[in-house]
Symmetry: D2
């Protein structure tokens, strides 16, 4: 039996022993209703083989993990010009802090804190008449799932309580760093965040980052150079330094791989040249990252040594 | 000839020598077109006598001076309960800072910085179906001018560029400190700021603060206890510590009277038990206060000793 | 019987009912041992009459109240030049905050927060070989008490734990705003803070601020113009806006007089043209101001109307 | 000819074309006198081969690069307990900011900003009677150079102007996060920073980080497991997220390797499993990192692909 199968089984048992140590995100009413005691994990290797355990085929709300995809779309759309509107330094502050935004004159620290992701969505809103479908189109292609979509109830729930994100959007607009109406961009942003995927799909959809920019071909679908190798490396560098909110340093120290986390409880990790790992468990720690997810990744790199590559 | 007449004449000459030392507010397009070289001053004494010099009858945009009137209206409407939603400490930061708002969890420092004034307008928006007319009603009664109104072009100009104020309103809403839709409150706020008065009217309209809360009666209109004596004293205390943005300490040091300033170039000062002074000159210093206005007040208290009372 | 005698008796009774609502400053070990249930109050009028109640003749540690005297000495020594090294705006932050100091490049907001008082002591350290005796000399003259001194045990206790003040001094030195060795200035500063006086003496010592800069003469000692009338007014303005740490606005609102508070539990208030009030009770509120002291002043101005002048 | 020889020769030519684009650190008088137009680079591979170009044998002041070595010594001395006193998150602020220190109650963000390095030196000061010799001992062993030392003139120059670091040390002491006298720790810290090495030595001294914790043996000196493989990986993760002050994200994006930079103009980079690179050129950019050094590393990883591993 493949050692990965064994490793995942072991991690599944160990992780589930931690149920109850975190709590489900409660600031978005629709998310607060997700049953907490779930855990799924999927691994996709660059050779095309895949592995999974637990609730790896249960769809969950991607939330901030979508910031990874929108950032990549914006990079494809306008290239390095996007750095005129957003930085690439770790923020050293909570994901929704306005203090830094004021100190730095409306230029968000990086594309993965909320303010930065809003700028990215603003860029894409300018580019696409229907951003949600452009984004869904890309995600459907990457996952080969034509039914992939966003959850309208979650999107509405988030939009109704998006006061702080509205505040950030208007603040950036006051600094000339927001092209569209905040209301419109927030509509897109909340739909984007409500996109649902399962672990197996998420691991597959991010494969291009582990595979030097190249998405793997599947039945009747040729492989595709989604990003250049150098772009893929740079996205990974950014995920390593900024992918886990203000716990990025801790994640790098414990796990040592590029990751993107979301308050839906999902985390995706990239092992460049090796493969991708998607993990999901709704209970979060105080910094908004999945408790079981972080544990599972730490165990996996310990068992596989993927972070020494 | 009354010594005040002499004093005003002298100050008029001295002040006009300072033309060119400041610059007209340029962040509101409609205000940027006001001819800069204007100076008016009006004094109203508690005995009913009035004095004026220069452009004391030219209407100007009250801007933040209206925060004094809306605060008084809110105090009359809900009393000391308003302190649950806004503080009464000097801010120690620029009038539109968001840093403090984040540090202090959405409770503005005082009713005279922008965030605080927005909360006050939110309180009044809940209270009045048509706040602008409720406010105009009060101001028309205080000035005996049935035609007093707001400048629609200025209001629109401010509303179109109110991104930062929208950001603050949404931020407070995210902290549960904003009852109405930010869009609606901002409509009211921008009309409020665009209210126009001349110096003579402004001195008259604030007389109740110098006269232990009592507005002076005029032809066919009896005097009226607008605020209690203790409330009037407290409003004055607040004006003394918070009325000049982050130059409040400097104003207290140099002038020593309760004041409220506005970026339209107006300043009103209260000499409790003595009278009121309204001064206007559009050129502003770096902190957004009228250069000639502050100079004129400093000279007046030097000549009259009103700040030693 | 004089109404003030009646008022003080009534306030004494009411204030003592509040024992237990605050707590004695515990960050200075020597101060933590002061018995909490004490209350004294003294009033000195510009006509030379004096009134007192309770523990008005028990010496207490002046602490930050000395910042008023050192500021006045520095103003006498170098005049308005001191504004090159310290601001005169309310701080809007805790008395020992370093954030503001960094934002504003080592220039403290005003002379009454710790950083500002350290700059003032630095100025006086440059001026006087033995600052503590120069300061004691002035205070002995103002109180006619040749034995007035500082408490060596309290001074040592404060010096031993002065890490934060040392941090501020070094920080200002790194910005070029500190002339002497921080160690030396802190020695002076801690002795200064440990100066002891009783309420009767404190009311007398600050009389020049209520009396247009003029200290009242006493037996065999002629009166003296300690400050110019205009300087006295300006000091009072500064006390009104900055004298009660980050509760200055609240004090102005409730009490409406220039004050200086200290963590020893003392407060002195100035009623310009009328007299001075010193009050002492060791229990402090969360902002470091005397609970009974603030209450007593609020009651006194309510009973006398001194804050309407 | 080895391709690395060719690459270094090419980079040497390209880098020197950039002379004049940065400026030598001027806040330490002794460093300001270093001739700016120098450039050296050395590579050491895990197979024991070495390569160098330009001024690779000219000693320079390590400055903050020593923080890497003191951190490793502290990790060896007290293990993971050190995380009780310092964090491991990127700072998102300048290397000598006090704002963050106040917000986070005296716990520095990571061991590589000044405040964090001071805590590390405090830990080592508690551990070693003569820290400078303990540190020199370790560095002499890692470089096989018994004469390696610190420059006394530079150390004194830094100590004389260490006001800001003193401020940070006292501030942390006020929060209970500093065990020794700040004066003593600063003596050690300034000597530590003044340690001198050349590029060839620096590449050799950090080899254990590229070689899974194992220092390579040399003539008559056996190899040694300096850190465990997992510890080495974690140090590298920390260098990747926090090694370049507030340009860490930019370095990760452009270069993608763990690095530590110093204001002496040196940078060391680790290519795990491959080797180490030391580069030196005194001219700095606005964030205090070597202009030519960063350029050279970016070119090297482009030419070798080491950052894709």
């Amino acid at each position: 039996m493949h050692t990965l199968t064994t490793a995942l089984a072991q991690i599944n048992t160990e992780a589930r022993a931690l149920f109850g140590q975190g709590k489900v995100a409660d600031y978005i009413p629709a998310l607060a209703q997700v049953p907490p005691r779930q855990f799924g994990m999927a691994v996709a290797l660059v050779d095309g083989s895949t592995f999974h355990v637990g609730d790896a085929h249960t769809p969950f709300s991607l939330q901030s993990i979508t910031k990874l995809f929108t950032f990549v779309l914006a990079l494809k759309a306008i290239g390095e010009d996007l750095w005129k509107r957003v930085g690439r330094e770790p923020s050293g502050a909570a994901f929704n802090s306005m203090v830094q935004l004021e100190t730095e004159h409306g230029i968000p620290r990086n594309p993965f804190i909320n303010a930065g992701a809003l700028v990215i969505t603003d860029i894409l809103t300018t580019r696409y008449a229907h951003l949600d479908y452009a984004l869904l189109g890309a995600l459907r292609r990457l996952t080969d799932d034509p039914d992939l979509s966003w959850n309208a109830a979650v999107a509405k729930s988030e939009r109704d309580t998006a006061h702080r994100n509205m505040a950030m959007a208007y603040f950036m607009k006051s600094h000339g760093n927001f092209a569209n109406a905040p209301e419109l961009v927030l509509d897109n942003y909340c739909r984007q965040c409500a996109t649902e995927m399962n672990c197996a799909q998420l691991a597959q959809a991010t494969m291009f980052l582990a595979n030097a920019g190249r998405d793997l071909g599947r039945d009747g679908c040729p492989d595709e150079q989604f990003l250049s190798p150098d772009e893929a490396r740079r996205v990974n560098a950014l995920l390593l330094t900024c992918g886990a909110y203000d716990a990025a340093g801790d994640f790098a120290y414990r796990i040592g791989l590029p990751v993107k986390t979301g308050v839906g409880g999902g985390i995706v990790a990239i092992a460049p040249g090796v493969g991708t790992v998607a993990v999901w468990a709704p209970e979060l720690d105080a910094k908004g990252n999945s408790v079981l997810g972080a544990f599972a990744l730490e165990r996996l790199v310990k068992l596989t040594g993927w972070n020494h590559t």
